[in-house]
């Protein structure tokens, strides 16, 4: 065992990358849940995003087009969920599970031809001299554009929810859909848009795994990141900045256990590999006390019967 092989600079840079898929997926789900909808299909939308992005990037040679396709793919799949829960008023838990089961299968089908293929690489953003600052340079200024987009998105969602009228309406719908309807807001339309935003974000998160973090395509490669993202939303009490913090925490743990595996620590690989899941459970236990932050209409079916 040799812990000195863990380079702190690479470690930090690595966990920023590890956290990015979580940031996207959880942020999308945060918006969906703020509108009062519980979409358990994050994992399914991520894996669809992962393969759509991967395939498009390989076929066109452009990773950026890949990310674009991933967002579209995730959003299209989420429309299925929106149809089930908003139009046919199906149970949200069951529909979310259906989305995940379907997404896992469908992505495997789409991805058959891409196993073992190497995707084109997305270049780092050129920060000029900033990149050469010791320590800070490699940690902060040596990443791809999507990683920075994730951070911008956190700020945008925070500001949008807090300061804009659209954000206020979204929160109102999540809080009390009957009241929002009585005031004349289109509950179903607003929720459908939120669900699509969530799908697009999950797709981007999935593509970040297949195009940048890994980068290759294997079946079921999201390996529960979508579910951790769901837990992260609870952890964050539905607040964007806390979500960022949580994503870094999980990114750090994931990166640390990978580094420890590499360093050949005496703990068996399997036990290191299960640590992110165990820690998710522990975090859920510790933070479950604060339930009041949840949107009051979360998971309830809306039907305008009057």
């Amino acid at each position: 065992m040799d812990l000195s092989v863990i380079n702190p600079v690479l470690f930090v840079a690595g966990f920023l990358v590890a956290a990015t898929p979580l940031i996207f997926a959880a942020l999308g789900e945060l918006v969906v849940e703020r509108s009062g909808v519980l979409n358990l299909g994050v994992e399914g939308m991520m894996i669809i995003g992962a393969i759509c992005g991967f395939a498009t990037a390989v076929e066109t040679g452009s990773p950026i087009l890949g990310f674009f396709a991933a967002a579209v793919g995730g959003a299209v799949l989420s429309l299925l969920f929106a149809f089930l829960t908003q139009i046919t008023l199906a149970n949200q838990v069951a529909s979310g599970l259906a989305l995940t089961l379907f997404g896992l299968g469908f992505s495997a089908l789409l991805g058959q031809r891409y196993v073992g293929v190497k995707p084109p690489r997305l270049a780092e953003v050129n920060f000029g001299p900033l990149h050469d600052i010791p320590v800070l340079g490699p940690v902060l200024f040596s990443h791809d554009i999507i990683l920075y987009l994730g951070l911008v998105l956190v700020a945008a969602v925070w500001a949008g929810l807090k300061f804009t009228r659209a954000g206020l309406v979204l929160r109102a719908v999540g809080e009390n859909h009957d009241a929002a309807h009585a005031l004349g807001y289109k509950v179903v339309r607003i929720r459908t848009l939120a669900i699509m935003f969530g799908g697009a974000c999950a797709g981007l998160g999935g593509a970040y795994i297949s195009l940048i973090r890994v980068p290759q395509w294997t079946e079921g490669m999201t390996a529960g990141v979508g579910w951790i993202a769901l837990a992260l939303v609870v952890f964050a009490s539905w607040k964007p900045w806390r979500l960022l913090l949580g994503a870094y925490l999980f990114g750090g743990i994931t990166q640390l256990q990978l580094n420890l595996q590499g360093a050949g620590v005496a703990i068996p690989v399997e036990y290191l590999a299960m640590s992110p899941y165990v820690i998710t459970i522990l975090v859920l236990v510790v933070l479950s006390a604060d339930k009041n932050a949840a949107p009051a209409s979360l998971g309830r079916t809306f039907h305008a019967s009057s």
């Binding site: 199906a90 495997a108 089908l109 529960g224 068996p268 399997e270 899941y277 859920l284 305008a304």
Partner: protein
């Protein structure tokens, strides 16, 4: 304009027709999918649904139906109790794995002693393994209010890692030439869950599944606890008012579903699978969710739905070898089934009205 109108009474006819409509729609869209993959849609559907039952090799496939159907039904029965009450155990896959590990370990601990007590002991250990794994989310839910969906699911990944660790470490066959995986229980008579009638596919797991169906049926229609489950799912406040203790109900539903999933794992590892390996689990725990919904959370329905899904597994395998249909296509097919079911379910509670639009 079309609009929805809530029925004064849920429609009984639609409640039974929905699964059938869903199957038909899945066949149509599944056929389209297979056509898109360049396969003959009619031949594909026929291979999946007809071949295993009435094809030339039906004598071989029919017993497989029981072997594949038993774990699905066993797990789905357990899940359906919780789903009915609004308690979402979706980590049956993990409980299935833990049941197999506990059961196999109990048997292997006595290797090579022969005794009639070993198999019953394994059954108890397997049930315990699944139960204890389900009790983690259950206890955390009642004690701390954690979300059982997320915790039970996280534990699937933990169980999978544990399975890998066991088949590479503690339970590895010392005479296995270094290959991962435990001793084969099929070659250990006292621990083997063999066929009860040769060539029928009937093993103890099938018997357990049938018993579970009857048990669930009686529980839900005749027993106070079953009534408590149904009321809690439909109106939790009314259940509380009538005297249901929600804590005990969570522990019961999660416990039973874990126990049954554990049993399914044990019967599988001691019978058809034979040994603990890294890829021992093949997703029965997740497919059982589809089975539970397709069976309308009703024990008899689950029995039929379990048979149908088992058919798609076997038919899918045949289609894979005969037509080159990718394995993932069957997974998509099963996912579609759940989609259509959920969508058509609308008509149980609502009816469509054509005419003047309402401002919604």
């Amino acid at each position: 304009m079309v609009r929805l109108e809530k029925r004064p009474q849920p429609s009984r006819a639609f409640s039974w027709a929905t699964p059938i409509l869903a199957v038909i729609a899945t066949m149509i869209f599944g056929g389209l999918l297979f056509a898109a993959l360049g396969k003959d849609p009619v031949a594909s559907i026929q291979t999946i649904f007809w071949e295993p039952l009435f094809g030339d090799f039906a004598f071989y496939y029919r017993p497989q139906l029981l072997i594949k159907g038993a774990p699905l039904v066993l797990i789905a029965i357990g899940l359906s109790l919780g789903f009915k009450a609004g308690i979402w155990n979706i980590g049956a896959e993990g409980q299935y794995i833990m049941g197999a590990i506990f059961g196999a370990a109990a048997g292997l601990a006595f290797y090579p002693t022969q005794s009639v007590f070993i198999f019953p002991l394994m059954v108890v250990a397997g049930a315990f393994g699944g139960w204890i794994w389900a009790m983690i989310p259950a206890v955390l839910k009642v004690r701390f209010g954690t979300n059982e969906i997320l915790v039970s699911l996280m534990l699937v990944y933990v169980a999978e890692q544990f399975l890998a660790s066991m088949s590479l470490g503690l339970l590895k066959n010392p005479e296995g030439f270094g290959f991962p995986g435990s001793r084969n229980l099929q070659q250990y008579a006292s621990a083997h869950n063999g066929e009860l009638i040769a060539g029928s596919g009937m093993h103890w797991g099938v018997a357990a599944a049938l018993i579970a169906v009857i048990f669930a049926y009686v529980l839900l229609t005749r027993h106070r606890l079953g009534f408590a489950i149904r009321v809690t799912g439909q109106a939790p406040k009314a259940a509380r008012f009538s005297g249901v203790n929600p804590t005990r109900l969570v522990l019961f539903c999660m416990g039973v579903s874990g126990l049954l999933a554990g049993l399914a794992g044990l019967f599988e590892v001691a019978g058809p699978a034979g040994q603990i390996t890294i890829d021992f689990n093949v997703g029965y725990g997740f497919t059982a969710i589809i089975v539970a919904f397709l069976g309308r959370l009703h024990p008899i329905g689950i029995l039929l739905a379990g048979g149908l899904l088992a058919l798609t597994y076997i038919g899918g395998d045949i289609a894979q070898s005969q037509l080159g249909l990718p394995a993932a296509a069957i997974q998509v097919f099963q996912g579609m089934l759940l989609f259509f079911l959920l969508a058509f379910d609308l008509f149980t509670q609502f009816r469509l009205r054509f005419g003047q639009a309402e401002v919604i």
